[in-house]
């Protein structure tokens, strides 16, 4: 019983171990030039070194800040809009083109436009990431609302709930699992876009800047260390949302 509980708690680490194991195996197999694919240990050393000597922590914080800001903006815009869109087919069909259009356009292609709109600096990066995140969140929320169970909507209507109330009292709750899917998608998307923007718009800090620098200077251990840091950050942010969801959506599947 106790062993089982320990195993349960250990499950998330199995993934980490598997990933590192695969990496180590690939590196050790010598299939690739060790310069190109350094062993995980080298990357780990680079990671530690980064935290100790090279302000990796600061870059980390900057990226987290940008990601959080853009996610927050994305959620604020997309969740209410998604609920409205999902509950009204006419609006949805009318705006579907715009949503799918921008969802399918690479953010990197939009950099020039965002530079024009928001100027250089943090604002652009946050705006472009918020834009990307809000599109996926919007999409997911609208979907959740559209697939919510109709009986509950009818029940609310017959109890005298106005259309607006139904949005908040039924559709929002019914689509809550899907809203969380959206937010978890959104957090990953905004992290990715922030990093890409730091890489390709240019930035004096952040994980993306570190990534492109280590690519430029061919410091592969440091590059993989940064990728690992970014991925772990993404997992952690996802984990936070998952925990919130578990607390909130107790009725899932029932």
């Amino acid at each position: 019983m106790k062993l089982r509980r320990i195993l349960r708690a250990a499950r998330p680490f199995l993934g980490v171990i598997a990933l590192l194991g695969a990496w180590w195996g690939l590196a050790a197999s010598q299939l690739f030039d060790p310069v190109l694919l350094p062993s995980p240990w080298k990357a780990l050393l680079a990671l530690i070194d980064g935290f100790a000597n090279q302000n990796l922590l600061y870059d980390f914080e900057v990226t987290i800040w940008r990601t959080t800001a853009s996610l927050a903006i994305g959620c604020l815009i997309a969740i209410p809009l998604g609920i409205i869109l999902g509950s009204n087919e006419d609006i949805y069909r009318s705006l579907e083109f715009v949503v799918d259009f921008f969802r399918s356009t690479p953010t990197s292609a939009m950099f020039p436009l965002f530079l024009v709109l928001f100027g250089v600096g943090d604002k652009t990066k946050i705006a472009v990431a918020a834009f990307g995140a809000s599109l996926v969140i919007l999409f997911n929320v609208a979907y959740g609302v559209m697939n919510s169970r109709k009986t509950r909507v009818l029940a609310a209507r017959v109890m005298g709930a106005s259309k607006v109330r139904v949005l908040f009292d039924v559709y929002a709750w019914e689509s809550l699992p899907q809203i969380f899917v959206g937010m978890r998608n959104g957090v990953s998307v905004s992290l990715v876009i922030v990093i890409v923007a730091e890489m390709f718009i240019g930035s004096s800090d952040g994980l993306g800047r570190r990534l492109i620098d280590s690519q430029m200077s061919f410091d592969m251990p440091s590059m993989y260390a940064t990728i690992f840091a970014a991925g772990a950050l993404g997992y952690s942010l996802n984990w936070i949302f998952l925990s919130i969801e578990k607390k909130f959506v107790h009725w899932g599947g029932k």
């Binding site: 009818l154 109890m159 039924v170 009725w251 029932k254």
Partner: protein, 277 residues
């Protein structure tokens, strides 16, 4: 995707129409004229007319799939009719306080609210302040004398308990029209009898117009002022029998010859209708 919206395109017009002659001299509360409804190729209603008198309890009795749930859904404006009108004696559909116990009570409860909050919900819609909501709910629970942990979520309850919560949610608002779609189907023996009495008491006290769907003939006749017997679809009014027994009815009513006769009559009509097709 948005049946509600489409529902509004159907005319719930607030105008009076000529009354059909009614036994009791009351103005009909709900008037249905020329109602037509089909699903795909199945005609459920075709030019269907009905008057539901104000302050009466109508039982609807009919075979499975004849369109009982469809009928009350149309009256409540939940699904659109293909043609026809539903009129509420000068009121607009949205002005009317409905109570509705769904046949499919499990899905109609909100799983994200506790049983208590589910029951309070319609009061919230009526903008009753929070304190009073609790108070009224507690009063209802006390009056019904039901032992139920209202802090549970619906999915933590047994079928019967969920149905009870659903009934309480419909009763708490003191509605103008109360629809009960097989409301006691999952209740245990005692609870069914008890809730029947409670419903009768409530009806007598409040004079609410009630529409009850039940497959229990005794129950249907016992509670009703009139029993509406429907044929298989396309549904026609096979009979609209008044039940004369005075209220309050009780155990003794069940054995009164008049009551037994009405019951037998209903059963006859029903069986004739069912076997016809």
């Amino acid at each position: 995707m948005t049946p509600l919206q489409d529902g509004l395109s159907f005319e719930h017009v607030s105008q009076r129409v000529e009354r059909l002659p009614l036994a009791a001299d009351r103005r009909p509360h709900v008037t249905i004229r020329g109602l037509s409804k089909r699903f795909d190729n199945t005609v459920i209603y075709d030019k269907f007319d009905l008057d539901i008198p104000r302050g009466e309890l109508i039982s609807i009795f009919g075979p499975n799939g004849c369109g009982k749930s469809t009928l009350i859904n149309i009256i409540a404006g939940l699904i659109p009719a293909d043609a026809g009108q539903v009129l509420f004696d000068g009121m607009l559909l949205k002005e009317i306080k409905f109570g509705y116990v769904f046949q499919n009570y499990r899905e109609a409860l909100f799983p994200w609210l506790t049983a208590l909050d589910n029951i309070c919900y319609p009061l919230k819609m009526m903008k009753v302040p929070n304190d009073e909501r609790r108070a009224r709910t507690e009063k209802l629970v006390a009056r019904l004398g039901i032992k139920l942990n209202l802090g549970l979520f619906p999915y933590q309850m047994s079928g019967g308990q969920q149905q009870l919560v659903s009934i309480m949610r419909a009763l708490v608002v003191e509605p103008e029209i109360l629809f009960l779609d097989e409301p006691f189907s999952a209740l245990d023996y005692e609870m069914t009898l008890f809730m029947r009495e409670q419903l009768q008491r409530l009806f007598m006290e409040s004079g609410t117009t009630m529409v009850l769907v039940s497959h229990d003939l005794e129950e249907a006749v016992y509670l009703a002022d009139r029993v509406l017997l429907l044929s298989r679809y396309p549904a026609r009014v096979a009979d609209f029998t008044p039940v004369a027994a005075p209220r309050p009815r009780g155990l003794s009513t069940l054995s009164e010859p008049e009551f037994v006769r009405t019951k037998a009559h209903c059963l006859n009509v029903f069986q004739r209708e069912v076997r016809r097709s």
